[in-house]
Each structure stands twice: as structure tokens, then as C-alpha cells.
């Protein structure tokens, strides 16, 4: 049996399967999703373009009561706290992780931040030795972390109010291996045909943000 025959057998094994859901029901459900401002999520890992100047779209109200301005924007990273308490984190360069960590902690987020210069492609979550992983399942992870699709220009959004008591956040950021690159802004202006991958000449280094939940402690999350 050659690969073609085997592939055909696999395809034919589900060829009689058809979706039973009418599009009207999907659209109705989509409206609910939109109304609740739920957005597509990636559990655990987010790839963002490095150095691309990703813009956060929201405008923050004046008179923000927190201990630092509502929006901290540096060349390396940006932290913006939304009116609903969500914290938007955009990382463009691997600089000053301690500053990012202290900024997020000042926003009330128990967090441990690690930057690595070593490119990786194994998607293994790395955390400080002082942190202990807290596996509460995908539902909690998705309630705490979400992101708009990376191409839309936003990055990781953290919802601190969804964190159960005693649970903190671990962020690990590193360059991804060469494959994980995003289109340069100039290249991105030209649409690609569906299903095509941009050539390497149109790409730039991408960053990988990995996130997970950890037990809070003085050593780990401050």
C-alpha cells in the first residue's frame, strides 16, 4: 500500500461527514460572541512581530487611578491598562524584563517575566525556578489570557480579575526560530493569495510569548 492509497483511505473514512449546523445559527452565536467581546484565543503561545511597532488600539480615560500612568510605552514593550481592568502587553524587543515585570506588578498582576535571547521552536514553557506551575485547565487559562489575531496588530491581553486566589502569571518571551517570522510592514501592505506563505525575504524576526499560570509566592510573583 503506497502513501496515496493510504491518504485516500483516510480521506474517504470521513467523506460522508457533513456539518449539520445551519449558517444562521453560527451567525447568531457569532453575534453573542461579539457582544461579549470574546475573541479568538491561543492557549499558551503567541507569536508577534518583533520591532514592528505593533499598535494598541484603545484610548484610555484620563484620571486613571493606578499607581502609574495607564499606558507605559517604551521602545521595547508597551503596557496599557484598559478601563475594564484588562492589561494589554505588547513586546517588541527583548529589553528590560525587570521593568516590564515591575510595571505589571504595579498594575496588581502577580507576575514573573523572563526574557531569553536564545531562539527556540519547541514551545516549552520556561519559568523561573522559584515558580511552581498551577494547572487549572484550559478554561481558566483562556479566561486570563487572550489575544486578537497577531496580524491585527495587538498582542497579549491579560484579565487579572479572572485569576483565582493564589494564582499568578508566568510570561516567557524569546525569539522564535527562523520559521516563525512575520511579514514586514511593507510586505504586509500587499495581500497574499489564499494559502500562500510569504517568502523569507518578506519576513522579519518574530517573538514568541509563552504564558502559563503559577502559584503566587514572594519569590515568584512578588
Amino acid at each position: 500500500m503506497n502513501d496515496n492509497e493510504l491518504s485516500t483511505a483516510v480521506r474517504e473514512s470521513v467523506a460522508e461527514i457533513h456539518s449539520a449546523t445551519p449558517v444562521a445559527r453560527i451567525i447568531s452565536r457569532g453575534r453573542s460572541v461579539r457582544a461579549r467581546r470574546r475573541i479568538p484565543r491561543v492557549a499558551g503561545t503567541l507569536i508577534v512581530a518583533a520591532g514592528a511597532g505593533l499598535a494598541l488600539p484603545m484610548l484610555l480615560p484620563s484620571g486613571h487611578p493606578d499607581s502609574h500612568p495607564a499606558r507605559i510605552q517604551l521602545d521595547a514593550w508597551t503596557v496599557a491598562k484598559q478601563a475594564n481592568g484588562d492589561i494589554d502587553v505588547t513586546i517588541k524587543q527583548l529589553k528590560n524584563p525587570a521593568g516590564l515585570q515591575s510595571t505589571l506588578r504595579a498594575d496588581g498582576l502577580p507576575v514573573n517575566v523572563t526574557f531569553s535571547d536564545s531562539a527556540s521552536d519547541d514551545f516549552k514553557v520556561v519559568q523561573s525556578a522559584s515558580c511552581r506551575d498551577y494547572d487549572l485547565g484550559l478554561d481558566v487559562l483562556n479566561a486570563v489570557f487572550h489575544n486578537t489575531y497577531a496580524a491585527s496588530g495587538s498582542a497579549l491581553v491579560i484579565n487579572p480579575s479572572a485569576l483565582p486566589s493564589g494564582v499568578g502569571v508566568n510570561l516567557f518571551v524569546a525569539p522564535h526560530a527562523e520559521y516563525w517570522t512575520s511579514r514586514t510592514p511593507a510586505a504586509a501592505a500587499k495581500p497574499l493569495a489564499p494559502g500562500t506563505i510569504p517568502p523569507h525575504s518578506q519576513r522579519e524576526q518574530a517573538l514568541m510569548i509563552e504564558y502559563n499560570l503559577v502559584h503566587t509566592s514572594q519569590q515568584c510573583t512578588g
Binding site: M1, D3, E5, L6, S7, A9, V10, R11, E12, S13, V14, A15, E16, I17, H18, S19, A20, T21, V23, R25, I26, I27, R29, G30, R31, S32, V33, R34, R38, I39, P40, R41, V42, A43, T45, I47, D121, F123, L138, D139, T148, Y149, A151, S152, A177, Y179, P191, L192, A193, P194, G195, T196, I197
Partner: protein
């Protein structure tokens, strides 16, 4: 584009992609009801973000990735307490149980269910959704070389499991 046109655009996308996405997720998760729910939720999210998704270079891949990442919705867990199927157990269930058993090839599905989850996902994306290696790697967040390695191992395991069946079919 107005909302009406967007809706027509999305409806056309759904019509052309729903079956393929459902089959892909079914091969990945092994249970038709679960696959249907995950794909429905992923398409609903696609509609909720249609302005973004419609510009995605591979919207079907977006839907499948979202479905695989979503897991069973909180709503369903709370109200119906349907767990994610244990594929190792599904593979041992009698092939005739359930409505979907009449629509899928039980021996192929059982062979797929015995593969590790990642290999199953690679098979689904490469063979059912017909993505190339690079796009499959992107969807799964792994290196292209890893995709090829998973596919090679999966095909070898499937060949071992299905060869007697296919030979029998060819002889008859």
C-alpha cells in the same frame, strides 16, 4: 463592505469550508459531536471577527486552529457534563455505536485514534484540510521538520494497522 455583504461573504465561506473543517477536527478529536461543537464555536468566532479572519491568508486553517484550541465550551461542560473523549478508549469501542459510526470508516477511525494526538492533528491538517507542511507547522506551532516527522510516523503506523483491511478490500 456592508454588514449584509459581509454576511453573504461569511455564509459563502461557511458553505464551502464547514464540511472540510468538521472532518479535519473530527480526525483530530475522534468524536463527531465534539468536533461539531468545536467547529461551530470556531466558525462563530470567525464571524465575530470576520473583518480580520476574512483577510487571513488561510481562513480554513484559522477555523481549525481555533477549534482545536477552544476545547469543549464552558457552557457545555456546565450543562451537559460531556467530557473530552478519551481517544484510547474510543478506539476500543464497538464500531457500530453512535450515529457517526454509520458515516465514518470505523477501522480507519480506530487506527487514527491510536495515534498520539499530535500525529493525528498533522494527519488531519495535511490529508483532510490539504495544508502544506509550512502552513501545518504554523497552525500547530511546531517546526516544519517536526510536521514531516510526525506525518512519516503516522503514515507508518496507519499502514501497519490498515494494510490487512485494504488488501482484503482489493482482493474482494
Amino acid at each position: 463592505m456592508g454588514v449584509g455583504n459581509q454576511q453573504l461573504d461569511f455564509a459563502e465561506f461557511y458553505r464551502s469550508a464547514a464540511d472540510e473543517c468538521l472532518r479535519t477536527v473530527l480526525v483530530s478529536v475522534g468524536d463527531q459531536d465534539t468536533a461539531q461543537e468545536l467547529v461551530d464555536e470556531a466558525f462563530a468566532r470567525a464571524w465575530a471577527s470576520w473583518r480580520t479572519v476574512s483577510r487571513h491568508p488561510a481562513p480554513k486553517a484559522w477555523v481549525v486552529r481555533t477549534a482545536l484550541n477552544t476545547g469543549i465550551s464552558r457552557w457545555r461542560r456546565r450543562h451537559r457534563e460531556v467530557p473530552v473523549p478519551d481517544l484510547a478508549r474510543v478506539a476500543d469501542l464497538p464500531a457500530a455505536s453512535g450515529a457517526s459510526a454509520r458515516l465514518v470508516d470505523p477501522q480507519v477511525m480506530a487506527a487514527l485514534a491510536r495515534l498520539p494526538a499530535r500525529q493525528r492533528q498533522v494527519v488531519a491538517l495535511r490529508l483532510i484540510l490539504d495544508l502544506d507542511t509550512a502552513r501545518t507547522a504554523e497552525v500547530l506551532g511546531i517546526a516544519p521538520g517536526t510536521v514531516m516527522a510526525h506525518l512519516g510516523r503516522a503514515m507508518a503506523a496507519l499502514r501497519l494497522a490498515l494494510q490487512p483491511q485494504l488488501q482484503q478490500e482489493n482482493q474482494s
